[in-house]
Amino acid sequence: MLRTTLAGLRLHKSRYVTTVLAILLGVMFVSGTLVFADTLEASYEESVMGSATSVDAIAVPEAPEGQDEDGFPLDPVPFDEAVLDDIRALPEVSEADGLIRGQAVLLDPEGRAFGFVPPAAIAFGEVSRLSASEGALPAADDEIALATSTADQAGFGVGDTVTVLDPDQEKREFTVTGLVNFGVDRTYSFAGALVFAPETIQEMTGAEGYSEIDVLAAEGRTPEDAAAAVASVTGTDVPTGAEFGEEMAEASGADTQILRISLLLFGVIAMFVAGIVIYNTFAILIAQRQRELALLRCVGAKRGQVFRSVLTESFVVGLFASALGVLAGVGIGALGARFGGRLVGTDATASVVISPTAVIIGLLIGTLMTVFSALVPAARATRVSPLAALRTSATAAGLEKGTGWVRVVFGLLAFGVSAALVGMSQMTRPDPAGLFIVTGAALVAFVGVVVLGPLLVRGIVRIIGVPLRRVGVPSMLAVDNSTRSPRRAATAMIALTVGATLITGYSVVSASVETTMTKQLDESFPVDYQVSAQYSLEDTGSAEDPGTDQAEAPEDGGAEGPVTEDDAGTEAAAEDGATDEVGEPLVPDEVKETLAASPLLGKVMGERSTYVDLSPDSGVPGMPVTAYYGAEMGVDLQGETVEGELTDLGPGKALITEDHADGLGVGDTLAVPAPGGDLDLEVAAVLETNASFWGAIITPEDFTSAFPDIQGDRFLHIRAAEGADPAEVREAVYTAVDEYPTVQVMSVAEMKNQFSEMMDIAFYTIAAMLGLAIIIAVFGISNTMALSVLERTRESALLRALGLAKGQLRRMLSVEAVLLCLIGAGIGIVLGVVFGWAASSAVLPGLVFSVPGAQIAVFIAIAVLAGLLAAVLPARRAAGTSITGALASE
């Protein structure tokens, strides 16, 4: 029996080409992802382990218990000089050096501050786990090294001169001597890093103390000894270099894990689509081989043998294709690690890692999927009666019978349930749980499409067939052909529907979110420019804060800036002047004055805000309180309200967003604790929660009296004067901030552009990943066409004999394939639009539903193109067949 199966496989191998390709692609993606992620992980592990094990122990200060008044964990307190001295004095330690970390503003080549937050500025001594990956570490006070990522992003290289602002905002020039690769170390990967010589760091950052102490063990002492000894000094857990490296590697492993899982998700989608394709191929092959199978039964094969024969066939095909897929996957994974590693933050320096898991999972998933998909066709094969061998089927593979009522009822039921679920998700308030309900609804609807597929194909073809029939004989025949075996057509098309639904759904979500955000921005903040200071992650209490230096400084230099820690709950933080809170630098008043004086600018509104703790000791993050200076609420700034009107805001009153209202309604009293005297405010309106407003909004008068310490604006919202030339307005805004490189100007138009660019990049990435599923589906359609062509060889010959030209025959098949692709894509688009809408409106409040028409037009164009491509080979084959040969056969 096995020999028969294998002989059959050899004979019909051309029929399996596209199936093999489909499996291959899916497996390639899965194995490729695994190899890619393994290699990345290994190469990172190699680099951190290599650098961390260059020292014997690494001491890092621990954060004190508790939270600051905003609910963030407190920052760790650096080690002071005495700790380092004590460590050096230990008999277990031969050498130790500390790493000092502050931050400094780096200017990009245009002279504006680099990044949203200033990069970390560090210096370390002789003993350190860090080293230059290119060039040399800075040795003189005019030398600097940059993190590789920072140099890449800002466009600097070794030998360049860069400008860094010192704490007094004075520009200092440095020569880049080298690059340091920090890998995916979170401390440095987000904002970037500058490395100074140890003698320069103090003047550039004002930072004191050591954020890390690296230790070499004394002769004859193990790293563990040294680590334990250091721990007794610092009172913290001190890992050895190797342990530290392992911890870092684990953290980076978590990063690659996310990448791995999200890529594998696309792999699973691809395999699912491949499964549909495999199923259809086997179903068709079994149908075509009815007589062959019946003959086997005639000569004595048992049902079980027929079943096993088909499964063996699928196993061989699956294993073969999976093996090829694993090979291709290793290649793709290696390429990905080689070229894609940089994109995710590491250079893959290690050689390609081909773990047994990657190979085994690839082989398993491909083979199992194939065998599993062939189960139903195999079971069907056992139902072939031996008598079928004797029957001559005059009209080969006659028309399928109509769809049963059970099917219709079941399909409609699925749609009903899905609609009910969608309705349910829309009833409740926007809530992430709605997303799960919508996903469930989409799956149920998909089952409905699968069940009703044959009916849908027939119905849709009947409708679009009306005009097509008029076009000419090829399209008329194509319309008829496409409904000959609706079940086969439906399965082929559903493979495409999967990808089309996902891509359309995502594009609808993406477009809706973008439109909603833009609309909220436009409506609430009809402004042209936003000015803000560079955000700082470091302490703002000390003199290093670039923003507050420009602000009117109160007498006490140590407590200037947005000091809000006056209320009761913050003593712990206030005790230690260096670690008060996350910095919120202010826009210099001079900038505001210059801007306000410009005739080109119609309105300059200052936004001041702070957090208040409504219920001290609860540990709950506070509520933001904001005031807009120079803005008329309801006129300059607008928003949707749940209750009341924005214009109702006045002294002694407050607007509050729904998420912070906590049950308060118009007329209720909101008690706001404030250093300048607690406020009892009457709620004037409750605002809908959206991105523009957050927390309570009060009048500038109330704000100034309640928070007298807050003397600057976090943001300036600027609206151009009516009729002003945009270029001149831009010039005016940039001139005003010229002297303040850390002040950031955001044009709203640019912001929108950046936002939509970001959304676009995400969309294209996801579309590209889903593209694989679409390619596999197109293979499936091509395969279905090819097998149908094979089945209709006689028919094609007859048509040719009757005078259908080769071109017409090809066109007939193209139209049929395009029709299939269009139906598949069309159903996918409809599902995608519906569920894209349902998903985004279930999650996003105040959604502005938007259908990306252009993108959908592109999908349709792609579907047509895919159809044409899918038909190329089958059509060539059909047109190339000799008429007499085909007539003589059978």
Binding site: A394, T395, A396, G398, L399, G472, V473, M476, L477, D480, N481, T483, R484, R794, E795, L798, L799, R800, A801, L802, G803, L804, A805, K806, Q808, S882, I883, T884, L887, A888
Partner: protein, 254 residues
Amino acid sequence: MTESAVKPTSPVQAPPVVVARGLTKIYDTGGSQVHALAGVDVEFHRGAFTAIMGPSGSGKSTLMHCLAGLDVPTSGTVHLGRTQITGLRDGDLTLLRRDRIGFIFQSFNLLPMLTAEQNILLPSQIAKRKVDQARFDHVVDVVGLRDRLGHLPAKLSGGQQQRVAVARALLNAPEVVYADEPTGNLDSRSGAEVLTFLRDSAKDLNQTVVMVTHDPVAASYADRVVFLRDGRLVDEVLDPTAETVSERLLKLEA
């Protein structure tokens, strides 16, 4: 020994529609060459119903395919009317088949997804030719399919299917109709029906019909029978009966 045998009294006296001269067809099957046709000269006259007979492998189907422009002979010429069809490119051959030739095959004559009527009209539609309604009605009535026009082939008996094929071949009044074993798959009663239609239409509509068959009874419906053996024309009979044809055939196979 072929055309010289034509007798002046028979209806085949009308001018020839199809003329073949020196037709050979050689197939390469691996090492050896097979002479499917080894120099055939034959002509078919307007309004005549001719049967081509011969034992299996005599080359009768190949001859028909070459005459109909479905296959290309290795050497020799075929004329349809004034057109030399040997040497035409595929596109022209397709047009020729579409506009000037009718076909009836042994089986698989109809497209399963088209109704009887659609099948009959298919060649006209391919050619974008307007159908003469009167002729359509006449042809449909001749083959007796009036009440079956809306049926799909699967709902028709084998005989009915072949009659649809006959109607399709006759509808456009092609210069010649080629029938390849049209009754091969039918029981004798249905076969007789189809053959009667073919013969009657050849007479009524002055239609030239060339039929390949190995059945002496089928051949007896023809006006003239030509015999093929080993790729050569070896004999011919005018106004045949089943007996005379069988006799000749037996002699050939001996």
